[in-house]
């Protein structure tokens, strides 16, 4: 820890800070929607923000890949014309937990692959990210420690850590530093503040531990062994295929592209919308064949898409442990429970081999 990378914001100045921040560009932060539900929305003052919140209904991906995004506008007829579009807005996102920052890191990797997603990549350059570290668990559905997302590891411009009377703020990028300079509200961090930060992190190490009894590095193997597991069948029987679990997942990025003409049949636009592998029509191809017709195959695919395939491709899990999929599932299909069942089943199998 280098002192010059840290500044301090007194809690009583928080509201002033937010007002100033909102003056720089449009500011997005978590707000309470009732019934312990939260959402990222535009805010102008500190009081609007829910500083203590569990992961929002939709993750911050809605700002990086809008759910209905124009890609082209065109006109038909003799003088046909096509114009490509990149819609973007300059934004600051405040208050992202480390799991949500990890989600954006995943999207960055997946969408930088060739063919690159230029719309996403262009848009992301206009978004500033200010993180807010969790000192304790949001709730029992989280599994962020298992996937290495409970502690900060980059991906943000500034990171706030709550130290009671004040926030300790880590400056990670030039745009982060710019915010500190423009708002003129932070104090230099002294060694006492940094000691406090060390203490908070030490304490966190006691609070957070693997939420499922397995070591991180053994997860890919577990999945290699579990493709034919009965656990998938059992989940498939319960799943309603409502698509909620993927729509709320910070690392799901599948989309569909459509063309629509105006009623005059002369002008139109090509746009993309979020899609979900859990929906029955998703894997339906020409001729009516559906290569993931059964629910259990679709659910299994979702889990392998989080814990197995990306490990080979990107050397990381595409689960951030945010727990959204579990919270949103009416059928009570729980990510932690599924992993627990897989671990248990796999252990039983090992025992049987020994007996």
């Amino acid at each position: 820890m280098e002192e010059y990378q840290y500044v301090v914001l007194k809690k009583e100045l928080f509201n002033d800070f937010i007002v100033r921040l909102a003056g720089i560009k449009k500011l997005i932060a978590p707000i309470a929607k009732g019934y312990n539900n939260f959402a990222y929305e535009e805010v102008r003052s500190g009081e609007q923000i829910a500083l203590k919140y569990i992961p929002t209904i939709l993750p911050a991906k809605k700002y990086f890949m809008p759910r209905n995004e124009t890609l082209l506008e065109f006109s038909t007829g003799k003088k046909s014309n096509v114009e490509a579009f990149i819609e973007y807005e300059s934004l600051t996102l405040f208050g992202l937990h480390t799991c949500d920052i990890a989600g954006i890191q995943c999207l960055n990797m997946a969408l930088s692959e060739r063919p690159k997603d230029y719309n996403y990549l262009a848009r992301k350059n206009f978004i500033t990210i200010i993180g807010l570290e969790c000192n304790e668990y949001c709730d029992e559905f989280a599994s962020c420690h298992l996937v290495n997302a409970s502690f900060p590891s980059g991906g943000y411009d500034l990171l706030f850590t709550d130290a009671g009377e004040y926030f300790i703020v880590h400056i990670n990028t030039e745009s982060g530093e710019e915010i500190v300079n423009i708002t003129e509200i932070f104090n230099k961090a002294e060694s006492l503040h940094l000691n406090e930060l060390t203490k908070i992190r030490e304490n966190k190490r006691k609070v957070f531990s693997n939420e499922v009894p397995i070591e991180r590095r053994h997860i890919p193997e577990l999945f290699d062994r579990s493709f034919r597991s009965n656990v998938w069948k059992e989940i498939g029987e319960r799943c309603l295929s409502c698509g909620n679990c993927t729509n709320v997942c910070p690392t799901c990025y599948c989309f569909d592209i459509r063309d629509e003409l105006e009623l005059d049949m002369k002008h139109g636009r090509r746009y993309r919308v979020w899609d979900s592998c859990q929906l029955e029509p998703f894997a339906k191809v020409a001729g009516g064949f559906n290569f993931r017709k059964e629910r259990f195959v679709r659910q299994r695919h979702r889990y392998y898409r989080k814990f197995r395939y990306p490990v080979d491709k990107f050397s990381r899990f595409f689960c951030t442990g945010c727990g959204r999929c579990t919270r949103t599932c009416m059928a009570n299909i729980s990510l932690k429970e599924t992993l627990n069942q897989l671990v248990k089943e796999s252990e039983d199998r090992v025992w049987k081999r020994w007996l």
Binding site: K33, G34, Y35, N36, N37, A39, I57, L58, R67, E237, R238, C239, L240, S241, C242, G243, N244, N247, V248, E260, L261, E262, L263, D264, M265, W274, S276, L279, E280, P281, R295, T328, M330, A331, N332
Partner: protein
């Protein structure tokens, strides 16, 4: 391009879906610019006895006269569009199918019930071929416009075959289940942009069920919330009773 001739017809229904078009505001001008409306009882008195390109059918088929009339319309039109829950899934009129036909006739018409023949309620596609479906009670105008565009282009329109929850989530509504209230969204076909939930109501299932609902699991979920299955079947039957005769 010559404007396609379009005609509206109503069968057993409340005509509320047609009213939706009348309520479209300026949007209706774009529709009128693209089509040539030749018959529409609710807004004009003219009748048209030649062929039309597009017939928009509102209402379900509930007696012999209706069967004859819809078959005649089918013969006179290139494209037939079922419009609203009554036409697409039988809708509220399907509740009649809960009873013996004679009982329901006596109940409605009293002593002289014999003079009022009736048949079990059917959705339009259960009687004649339907080319386009616009579900909903009432229809959701943005979807109707999308279907009209498909008609103009001569391409099919597929009613979404996934749950209302998809749209509901994207609208970031607090889920009714989180409030301890049951909602038919997980079983009902999307396409209305989760209209009711956006406005603080539950989904009543007016667009009909997805083609392959997980009924077993849905029942388990209801049990979890201590909701009697009959209550939900009643709710679902309010719009979906005709499903059983397909």
């Amino acid at each position: 391009m010559k404007k396609p001739k379009i005609a509206f017809f109503d069968f057993a229904c409340c005509e509320g879906c047609q009213l939706q078009v009348a309520n479209m505001g300026e949007g209706v001008l774009d529709v009128l610019a693209a089509f040539d409306v030749v018959e529409w009882r609710e807004v004009m008195s003219e009748k048209w006895d030649k062929k039309y390109d597009v017939a928009i059918i509102e209402g379900s088929i509930t007696d012999n006269h209706a069967v004859k009339r819809i078959k005649k319309i089918r013969k006179k039109t290139d494209i037939l569009l079922a419009y609203g829950s009554c036409a697409t899934i039988g809708g509220v009129n399907g509740m009649k199918n809960n009873f013996e036909l004679d009982d329901i006739r006596k109940y409605v018409y009293g002593e002289s019930y014999k003079f009022f023949p009736t048949e079990i309620t059917k959705a339009v596609h259960q009687v004649v071929k339907v080319d386009y479906f616009v579900n909903g009670c009432p229809v959701y105008i943005p979807e109707f416009v999308t279907v009209l565009k498909a008609v103009l282009q001569g391409i099919p329109y597929y009613v979404p075959d996934y749950a209302v929850c998809v749209e509901c989530k994207l609208n970031e509504n607090v889920c009714m289940y989180a409030k301890g209230i049951t909602c038919l969204g997980p079983l009902t076909r999307a396409g209305c942009n989760s209209w009711c939930i956006n406005n603080g109501n539950i989904c009543y299932g007016c667009r009909g069920m997805v083609s392959n609902p997980n009924e077993k699991s849905a029942q388990d979920i209801l049990a979890k919330y201590n909701i009697p299955i009959e209550l939900i079947m009643n709710k679902m039957n309010m719009y979906n009773k005709c499903r059983e005769i397909v």
